[in-house]
Amino acid sequence: MGVLSRKYDVLVAGGGNAALCAAIAAARAGASVLVCEMASKFYRGGNTRHTRNIRCAHDAATETLSGPYPEEEFFKDLLQVTQGNTDEALARHMIAESKTVLDWLPQQGVRYQPSLGGTLSLGRTNSFFLGGGRSMLNALYLTAEALGIGIAYEAEVVDLEIDNGMFLSATIQQDGARHAVRAATLVAACGGFESNIEWLKQYWGPAADNFLIRGTPNNRGTVLKMLLDRGVGETGDPTQCHAVAIDARAPKYDGGIITRHDSVIFGIVVNKHAQRFYDEGEDIWPKRYAIWGRLVAQQPDQIAYILFDSSVVTMFMPTLYPPIGAPTIRELAAKLTLDPDALEATVSGFNAAVQPGTFDDTILDNCRTKGLEPDKTHWARRLETAPFYAYPVRPGITFTYLATRVNKETRMLMRDGKPSANMFAAGEIMAGNVLGRGYAAGMGMTIGSVFGRIAGMEAARNARN
């Protein structure tokens, strides 16, 4: 096994967008680089496999972007979704750098296309990858191979030798054997800990057993934990994760984007007691879809059901799993193993509370209920056209916010605030620095590409000195 026996300028832990951007930037700066990807070649790239676009600031429309997206507007959007939970200096630096990353990625082989059908709201701000995230990864890996970067698959970092903030070597496990790999610098770009159910249970208790993980099963937070245990400072709320409501029939891991549901605003959502628990019509769907993961997580057994009737079945994206249908609400309840009386009471109560209005799902319309707790404040229409349908949903965890603290060079900051001698972080493992809460489409890739590129350049510079 050649690649694990050499000494490198830069060791990159991880194999996703941030890791590859770091590796490529470091190699282009003249460094020798090893990428240790825990997954097999097919599953390489972690959650990047499931992504589809990147949010970059730009001053003018491009071939694939419909208009300018100034830095200031990007920052305002970030402030809005994080509700101010961000490191402003770092965030502004990221946004400024994103402008050149927009052109840098195509130079590494990545191809863009105009926004996908059904995502017109992102056509100005987000560059979509032609063929999706795996296509993007394939391009980056081909570039990395052409640059002579060593790539080890199924190679997990199981230990880190760190002395007083200085990285010395990493223990890599591959094919059951352990290899001590020495490198002048370390770039940690290996994700958060959302796939580690035991860790999630520390904050969520047994409810975490009912969480589904939307992406890779490999983001177990092993390296994150080792770094924090060895004195690296932390930021970001460890108890929080980004979650959306996804189909309860999805696999435990790696179901990706296609298990999502965007039908909430067209119907009602009930819990296992057949009770509504939140305003389904609070706001335009893209602004609200991300709250439903948490809402469902707070319901008994972490399960809920989106209910709608046949008048709306073609108003949202076709779904992976078919809706469960029945000619009456009672029969539907039986199929969902809900109490038929309770569900019938909830639906008839809802129907009775619907006020007259003009339905328009593209605006905050005036169709609402009156007198319910909670009311549905927009797009409220009676469920009366048989057959009736339901999608069972569970919380689908996307990523975690707990992060290693970094400075503008992406250099890790130790607990005492001193910068590490030779350790850098990029991607989800440090996302919590700029993304204290919330999320906006494409920002994970911005964090990965921008801080990955910085980490690679800084690590290469560090290794030379």
Partner: protein
């Protein structure tokens, strides 16, 4: 049914388990749509929410098999969603050829296509050899013939023209009946407008969708270094030039009274030679590419259909070029029998072999151009 256990499966009726699997895949893909910039299949899919068999046959024939969606897909095997669009659409496509074959009674020729085509070719070559032997004595069969009318000493021009004219006519009628059935199956009978036809001709002539979304096709791994588009161009345009050569020669014969063989610099020979060279290298390149292709994307049990057609094109060209080179030697009569036998078999089997892929794909491209224009409001 093979699909009901997996994500994306829908209850519903399909003519085969394969079509049910294609329905499942299109359902998965329609909830993802990452591939919509790669080719025409995915935009066409997005215009639908459900996938009856006719639509699946349409999408399958629209697919050029570039492989990009397989390499780019986060759900391709070994992922449990098992999304393998290139292979399943290749299988559906190959099944559809038999389903639309005319007359129905000859559809089984697709089942063991390599064997069928080999037997028909052998019989055709034998028939020409026996015909020549039966009609002529040794001095003609093994003699040297040169000058205008040399070929027709072995077979009168009128007999040749009638025989091949009839065979060609039969092939055209059988293909037309097949396309008619396909066209009725894949959508509402809309009148074809000239804009869509022109668009489809350009898309077919340039193999627009055999380019992996712009950087080239995928064949044996995730590198877009496949040359099938190039070799297909050699094959297609080689075939077209050979066909043009025949047309010019026919025109020479009837309109100008100029009798074959023609000198090497004359149009029929130049067209035939250039086309023939394309028809040597094109099929060989395509065969090599097929052998190198990642088996996971291939409809392996029916690869013999592809090889049979490529071999027929190759043999047509090879025997034609040999005939040109050796036409002034005693080998000419037997080479002529061989060449005519191969060409006869090529034409008679056109409606029952891989040749039909071009016809159905073109029809699918016309349909897509129509749909696309209608969506943009240009129809």
């Amino acid at each position: 049914m093979l699909a009901t256990e997996k994500a994306g499966a829908r209850p519903g009726h399909h003519a085969s388990a394969l079509l049910a699997e294609a329905d499942r895949l299109m359902t998965v893909c329609n909830s993802c749509r990452y591939c919509e910039g790669l080719c025409a299949v995915f935009p066409a899919m997005e215009m639908r929410r459900a996938f009856p068999d006719g639509d699946l046959n349409y999408l399958a024939n629209l697919c050029h098999g570039c492989g990009a969606c397989y390499v780019d897909c986060q759900f391709s095997p070994p992922h449990e969603f098992d999304v393998n669009v290139p292979r399943v659409l290749a299988q559906v496509r190959n099944e559809s050829y038999a389903a639309y074959a005319w007359p129905r009674v000859l559809a089984p020729l697709f089942a063991r296509n390599g064997l069928s085509i080999s037997l028909i070719t052998a019989l055709a070559v034998a028939a020409f050899i026996f015909g020549f032997v039966g009609w002529h004595d040794r001095s003609v069969l093994f003699g040297t013939h040169t000058g205008p009318g040399a070929f027709y000493k072995l077979m009168p021009h009128a007999a040749m023209a009638w025989l091949f004219g009839l065979v060609f006519l039969y092939a055209v009628v059988a293909l037309a009946m097949g396309v008619r059935a396909f066209w009725r199956d894949i959508g509402d009978p809309v009148a074809v407008n000239s804009g869509s036809l022109w668009q489809a001709m350009r898309d077919a002539a340039t193999l627009r969708y055999l380019d992996g979304g712009g950087i080239g096709c995928y064949n044996h791994d995730e590198r877009p270094n496949d040359r099938r588009q190039f070799y297909h161009h050699l094959t297609f345009y080689g075939f077209a030039l050979c066909f043009a050569s025949t047309c010019v020669a026919t025109l020479y014969h009837y309109a100008f009274g100029r009798i074959a063989p023609y000198p090497w610099w004359d149009l029929p020979v130049v067209l035939g030679t250039v086309g023939g060279i394309g028809l040597i290298f094109g099929p060989v390149g395509l065969m090599v590419a097929k052998l190198r292709r990642d088996p996971v994307m291939v409809d392996e049990p029916r690869l013999d259909m592809d090889f049979a057609f490529l071999a027929m094109l190759f043999l047509t060209s090879l025997t034609g070029l040999l005939l040109l080179l050796l036409r002034a030697t005693p080998a000419m009569p037997m080479l002529l029998a061989l060449h005519l036998g191969v060409v006869f078999a090529l034409f008679i089997t056109m409606p029952y072999g891989k040749f039909v892929h071009g016809i159905y794909r073109f029809a699918a491209l016309v349909r897509y151009a129509q749909e696309h224009r209608a969506l943009l409001g240009k129809a």
